[in-house]
């Protein structure tokens, strides 16, 4: 999760710009500090040698030389800044160059306190593949993100791929990005959004196009219907308790929209927007007491009898 570890063309051109600014900054800072130190040493020596000065004396010749140096340094500043400005604009245009891709993959991203809702193929219900928090993208293809928020302002940011873009309610911001290397890239929410701002991670999985196509096909499908015990009982528990009020599992009548779509939850690597790994122990703890893991989050604790709890976990783990 570092902006200096790019995996896409945009993050790479920003890193290039960073290198320019970094070396210019090192040069400027060193120059100032060297002059500064020499001036201090010199001025202290002058005081030791000559004693207190008469402050009203203006030293006209020396002052003229120093003013010329000030003017020269200022001119260098102006030229350096002009150079940096041009470099910045060139990079800005490079970032926008992805606009020209004729066939981007469009994903609608809706931010919630405190998770990311993802809709592949928005606008075509047949191809819809709603999921959450873990975004798979094909390597090498431009991805067009339509960013909007259901509540407050959030910010979408995956440092290895691109800079951040705010996610603002009632607006749709467009962010184009592309991954050139397969890998898992994480990104924290980058606009303070309330109690669980710290636990709102988006995970981007960039994978080869064929792997991505298989993944997308899985996501489009309904939840697996053929289940063995205890998962079968677990489905009854899910549908009978508070779970179904907030979560959708396509293929069942659980159609809640307050929380993430769980149709294929077992396929995700993490839970609760990156707060915990998706293992049976963490999942059980999360259901039992989410407020201990993400204090203030919208999910209420769901306390079940031991058998029901085990069955529910088995069911959720079956949702691949």
């Amino acid at each position: 999760m570092s902006s200096l570890d790019p995996a896409g063309p945009q993050a790479r051109s920003i890193e290039g710009l960073w290198d320019v600014f970094w070396w210019v900054s090192i040069a400027v800072w060193s120059a100032v500090v060297v002059v500064h130190v020499i001036a201090i040493v010199r001025a202290r020596r002058q005081r030791r040698r000559w004693g207190e000065a008469d402050p009203t004396h203006t030293h006209p010749a020396q002052t003229r030389r120093l003013l010329a140096a000030v003017i020269g340094a200022s001119a260098i500043t102006v030229i350096t800044l002009a150079g940096l400005l041009v470099t910045t604009f060139v990079t800005g245009n490079a970032l926008a160059a992805l606009d020209e891709d004729p066939d981007p993959l469009t994903i609608k991203v809706t931010a919630h306190q405190w998770w990311w809702q993802l809709d592949y193929a928005p606008g075509s219900p047949d191809a819809a593949a709603p999921t959450a928090n873990e975004m798979h993208i094909p390597v090498g293809r431009t991805v067009r993100l339509l960013l909007t928020s259901a509540d407050v302002i959030h910010s979408f940011w995956v440092p290895s791929l691109h800079g951040k873009r705010d996610v603002i309610p009632t607006r749709t911001n467009v962010l184009l990005l592309r991954a050139d290397q397969a890998g898992v890239y994480r990104g924290p929410c980058a606009e303070f959004c309330g109690l669980q701002h710290a636990n709102m991670t988006i995970t981007v999985v960039a994978e080869p196009p064929d792997v991505f196509a298989r993944w997308l096909a899985t996501q489009r499908a309904d939840a697996p219907a053929r289940l063995a015990e205890p998962a079968l009982h677990g489905r009854e528990v899910f549908l009978a308790t508070a779970c179904a009020g907030c979560h959708t599992i396509r293929g069942t009548h659980a159609g809640g929209r307050l929380g993430p779509d769980l149709t294929h939850v077992a396929g995700r690597a993490t839970l609760a927007a990156g707060a915990i790994p998706n293992t049976r122990g963490h999942l059980g703890g999360w259901i039992l007491d989410p407020q201990a893991i993400k204090p203030g989050c919208q999910m209420p604790p769901v306390r079940l009898a031991g058998d029901d709890q085990r069955a529910l976990l088995a069911y959720l783990e079956a949702l691949r």
Binding site: I14, L17, P55, V70, D166, N173, A190, G194, A198
Partner: protein, 656 residues
Amino acid sequence: MTEPAGPSFTARAEVVERELGDDADALAASDAEAARQLARTWGRRRGVIGWLRDTDHKAIGRRYIVTAFGSFALAGVLAIVMRLQLARPHGQVVGPDLYNQLFTTHGTAMMFLFAVPVMQGIAVYLVPLMVGTRNVAFPRLNAYGYWVYVIGAALLWTALAINSGPDAGWFSYTPLAESTFSPGKRVDVWAQMVTFTELSALAVAINVIVTVLKHRAPGMSLDRVPTFVWASLITSVMVVFAMPSVMLSSTMLAMDRLIHTQFFVPAEGGDPLLWQHLFWYFAHPEVYIIFIPALGFISSILPAFTRTRLIGASVMVMTMVATAFIGFGVWVHHMFATGLPQLGQSFFTAASMLITIPTGVQIFLWLATVWRGRLRLATPSLFVLGFFSTFVIGGLTGVMIAAVPLDLQVHDTFFIVAHLHYVLIGGAVFPLLGAVYFWFPKVTGRLLSERAGVASFVLVFVGFHLTFFPMHVLGLHGMPRRIYTYDAASGWGDLSLLATIGAFVLGLGVLLTLGNAITSARRGRIASGDPWGGDGLEWTTTSPPPAYNFLHLPTVRDRYAAWTSAPDQPVVSGVRADRPELLVTRVMDAEPDHRTELAGASVWPMLAAVATGGLFIGSIFTPWAVIGGGASLVVALVAWFWPRPPHREEMLEAKP
């Protein structure tokens, strides 16, 4: 000039040559009599009531400075708690609810209750002394401003103490700060406190502007105004343009929350980005409102410790004006991630880089001054010299985040936390601490301990870099701001721990200076009127100055008034000693124009501030407070502005 109309203007003040040598005894006797009269006129009454009535700029200025440092210390404690929480992954010191209150209150207090008021308090104290007059132009307004400020400070700290501290960030972005997402009173406290303290900032700004423009010593034409006074004037003009924007927006936010207007509610057609524009239109100039006085400190301290005039003092003033002007045109660089059009962003990138140029010129001029001078190292000059290497880093990271592509990566990360502290602590607090060591003897009559001062400088300098330099790296490695916890896998733990250790060193350094101030105020070495060989008029009077500042109102022949004062330098005569009169001079050339009599001390400004406080704080709970508080305020203002009875000769002149 038209002939002044009122009876109190009939006798024009004039500049007279004081004939020294002739009749020295008679002169001394008349001086002693004048001093007695002036002390009666300008001194304050004894007791608590006298303290509450006081309108002397030095008393008000001292109170501002002490209160502001109180908030600085408290907000610093909050920072230490935050650093403890972040020292290791999954910190358990505080939970998210308290953490959000901590960082919101830390930022709010540092900006609204410390940085601006402390700079303004120093201006209130020093400006009348530096321009050679006896008080600010509107002493009662000045007292009102202080009381308003102290009530605002009490509101914020009380709210935090009872777990009602604001928790939506010091920037209170909507819609998070709207009542839907931030129920309760926390954000109301924030909004009203902001409106409230900025009222006080405006009161000081108006006072400084009029005092500088109309009450300068004869001879102090605009080109001879000391650099710090220029800095205060420029800052005050910025306050007048910037603060109304935040007062407007915080009031709109309070109305959204309290009486259900919809200015920033997106669901009702309000615009959350409107909030950001209004807020940053204020909040970016705010940085320069804090920084420009620091330029004034440096420009006052360097000449005294290098024993030479500032090179290019007029250029320095012009660059300050340029900074102030451009400072109003860069606010969108806080909003690059919101998705504004690229062309508009390019404009703000260019403006944000442009503002580096005047700052660069300032640094070059100071370096040239040191080069020409004969440097004496003492705590004030150490802090100023520490400023250079530190602030330049903040300036360079500022250029980085002016570039949209880089900003999109580091915006809202710890890189920005590092940048803003390099600018505000390196750029403003270092010179401020230097200024504290520099002017403390003037204010208290005693010197701060040099040994503790040097130790404090070393701790502050080392601790500061240890705390904030690693944050650049953390930000580049993806650590966002305002998170109360992070995972061990993020790899942010080690540098965070280093920053926490640095914070303790920094805190120790600040504590050493605070302790130094408290002990030295009572037991420090007695200071002469001019312990450093300073160049300003403030060094020509005693330490601490008498209530009336100057026995004889001075005249000036140069920017460096104290250095260039002739043995037979004329003084002003004709300003009465038995009434609180000020000399009014002309804006450009500071030629004497007329005299004006100030309103005396009064308890009503304090009571008016209490009524204002009742209005604002009460309105959080009931709209009726606006009516009740408004009515009380009217009563207090009527009493405040009640005309004084006419003087005897005014009655005589009024007769046909």
